[in-house]
């Protein structure tokens, strides 16, 4: 027997607080498609993807009808192309990207992630070709996402790769100058990338994963905000222990709903279920913003002093709630703080409450990193590499995932507005504290050694 309180709170989650299944992502292993012949490889990957994910959109639609919960995005993650496409040149890998894009269009899926290289310790020939192909590949395609892992706690930081990525990001943005550097918004540089992220732009299918697997990404910052507001309305003296409990319980409820729907889609597709990634991932809409949660708890604005403390608590409580609700929580699971995708965070960046330095500090305790940050178009590649290196170091030392999705918007200066449309949203160009643009440190290259795992202080 369901009680009235449970019915009302569940109803509110779905109806008014933007609980949605952000993504159902089918991971597809492409290692058995390898070939030295480009045409054979293209045909095999196209066939395998369209075969395994052929019913993805129809199955999601069926589940939407049954449960009345929207599946906002349908996505595919694939084995890293830097590995399975290792024999090919960067020009040929651009063709591979175009083939993948064609498969995405054919299936009606929103994104394919996995135009990826894992180079935290060193760069193979395939990885190098892939990285060089990224700007052109992301310019010629619409639905391909790219990620490059340049650091890990066990391997250290590959500064040669970071130096290269500064140039690649710059090129990608310049090739799509008419769209404010859109290609760079589909490219993310990682430290400690998880193998099973269903969220973009970082999704790829790790080498240790099954032949095909269904994972789901659940969002719902609006639900968390509403739960905190309700708890505060019921008890205005609520303390932070209670607030953490409220977040934890809400995260558990969101995870349960996501896992239910994910498992049903997996069953329809006759594929194993992988993980639930419960991440508070905003969209550029009111009531679907992570920044609004900061205001609900009583901070004057996102980025104001106290924000790092609250973010650490929010991220931790979301993880605890998710881990309690499901035995298979994975991916990034926590709180995202992407600037352009979140109305409130974008506002804070525009009015100066949030600057790049504070944002970087906050990424030490969020679940991803410097995400969807537009920077001035004249920022040099070297300076971009230096920002990435800082962000990677935070992840490596803290044994967590960090990422940088930086968009040097061509022709734009600090304070200008960039617009990417859709889930990628819009926001202000954030100032970079340049000093002299000369940065000999990043040009030194080599590797920053992996950190010691004892003497933890």
């Amino acid at each position: 027997m369901l009680n009235e309180k449970d019915i009302i709170s569940t109803l509110m989650m779905v109806r008014e607080q933007n609980l949605d299944l952000r993504t159902v992502t089918v991971g597809i292993n492409l290692t058995d498609c390898v070939s030295h012949d480009l045409e054979t490889f293209k045909r095999k990957i196209y066939d395998k993807i369209t075969r395994y994910a052929g019913q993805l959109v129809a199955s999601c639609n069926r589940i939407e009808r049954r449960y009345g919960i929207e599946v906002a995005n349908k996505r595919i993650s694939i084995s890293p192309i830097g590995v399975v496409g290792a024999p090919f040149s960067s020009e040929q890998l651009v063709e591979v990207a175009v083939t993948l894009d064609k498969a995405a269009h054919e299936l009606g899926v929103d994104f394919i992630g996995g135009f990826t290289a894992l180079v935290e310790k060193g760069m193979s020939k395939g990885d190098q070709a892939l990285i060089e192909a990224i700007p052109q590949a992301l310019t010629e395609t619409q639905r391909i996402c790219s990620s490059v892992n340049v650091a890990s706690t066990r391997a250290g930081i590959n500064m040669d790769a970071i130096l290269k990525m500064g140039e690649i990001i710059k090129q990608a943005a310049e090739l799509t100058a008419d769209d404010d550097g859109l290609a760079a918004a589909k490219l993310v540089v990682f430290a400690n990338i998880p193998q099973d992220v269903p969220f973009m732009a970082g999704a790829y299918l790790g080498i240790g994963e099954a032949d095909a697997v269904v994972s789901v990404g659940v969002s719902g910052p609006g639900v968390v905000k509403a739960a905190l507001e309700k708890a505060l309305a019921e008890d205005e003296n609520m303390d932070l222990s209670r607030a953490a409990d409220v977040i934890k319980q809400t995260a558990a409820r969101l995870t349960r709903a996501g896992e239910l729907v994910g498992r049903e889609v997996a069953q329809l597709l006759n594929l194993p279920f992988g993980i639930v990634d419960l991440s508070l991932a905003p969209t550029p809409n009111r009531n679907d913003s992570v920044g609004e949660i900061f205001e609900a708890i009583g901070l004057p604005a996102f980025g104001a002093p106290g924000s790092t403390a609250f973010l650490s608590m929010l991220n931790d409580a979301v993880k605890k709630g998710g881990a309690f609700a499901s035995s298979h929580v994975g991916g990034l699971s926590g709180a995202f703080i992407p600037v352009c995708e979140d109305l409130t965070i974008a506002e804070s960046a525009a009015n100066g409450t949030l600057n790049l330095e504070k944002l970087e500090a906050m990424t030490a305790v969020c679940s991803v990193g410097l995400d969807m940050v537009a920077i001035p178009g004249d920022t040099t590649a070297e300076m971009i590499s230096a920002i990435i290196a800082d962000e990677m170091a935070i992840g490596v030392i803290n044994k967590k995932t960090t990422a940088a999705r930086l968009i040097p918007a061509p022709g734009k200066k600090a304070g200008d507005i960039v617009r990417f449309g859709g889930l990628l949203g819009e926001g202000p160009v954030m100032a970079v504290n340049m000093g002299s643009q000369e940065n000999r440190f990043v040009r030194l290259g080599g590797r920053i050694p992996a950190p010691i795992q004892s003497l933890v202080n």
Binding site: L2, E4, I8, L11, R66, G68, R256, A257
Partner: protein, 188 residues
């Protein structure tokens, strides 16, 4: 073995069940199943009772009538032949849904909603109404627990209910029961 359905209705007070059950036992009957509820201050119970062949249904009925007069209850005894309806004989495969109606009480609300449900082959398994009054729409809620046959097109049902909702200025939502259960119960 004869079976009877006994219904008991009246203002609530302690001792109703004790009196009714004692009389049934004294007449050789056995309560096989029962359901009891309170609607505001009104008591209602439905009992499924098996009686020995030679037991006099009439005598039981008279004894229950006496209790009814004493405790100001309306008690009915009906013989029950257990003859299933055609729907029960061939139950369709169903999916459980929860239908919620939000908004102030409207004349004809239950009739309209249940008529649409019947028209789409939907069976109601439970209804509860929570009318607390006031301005918060969530304080005026009706919850229908229903079984929807697989043959029903959910979108058609949702459209029909949406139309009723618009006409009566209320909000009607249809949501799969599993969503409520998975979100509310941690032990499944």
């Amino acid at each position: 073995m004869n079976k009877a359905l006994i219904s008991v209705l009246g203002n609530d007070q302690p001792g109703i069940m004790a009196a009714v059950a004692t009389v049934i036992t004294e007449h050789g009957g056995n309560i096989e199943n029962l359901s009891q509820t309170l609607l505001q201050s009104v008591f209602g119970a439905l009992l499924m009772v098996s009686m020995p062949e030679d037991a006099q249904c009439k005598e039981l009925q008279q004894a229950l009538q006496q209790i009814g007069q004493k405790m100001r209850l309306s008690i009915h005894v009906d013989p029950w032949d257990e003859q299933p309806t055609p729907w029960q004989e061939n139950p369709p495969e169903v999916q459980p849904y929860i239908l919620t109606v939000i908004g102030p009480d409207r004349r004809g609300l239950v009739a309209e909603v249940s008529t649409q449900l019947a028209r789409h082959g939907v069976n109601i398994t439970n209804i509860q109404a929570i009318f607390k009054g006031g301005k918060n729409p969530m304080d005026n809620l009706m919850v229908f627990e229903v079984d929807v046959p697989r043959s029903t097109v959910m979108q058609d049902l949702r459209d029909a209910l949406h139309e009723v909702g618009q006409r009566l200025d209320i909000e009607i939502d249809t949501q799969h029961r599993k969503i409520f259960e998975s979100v509310s119960n941690i032990s499944n």
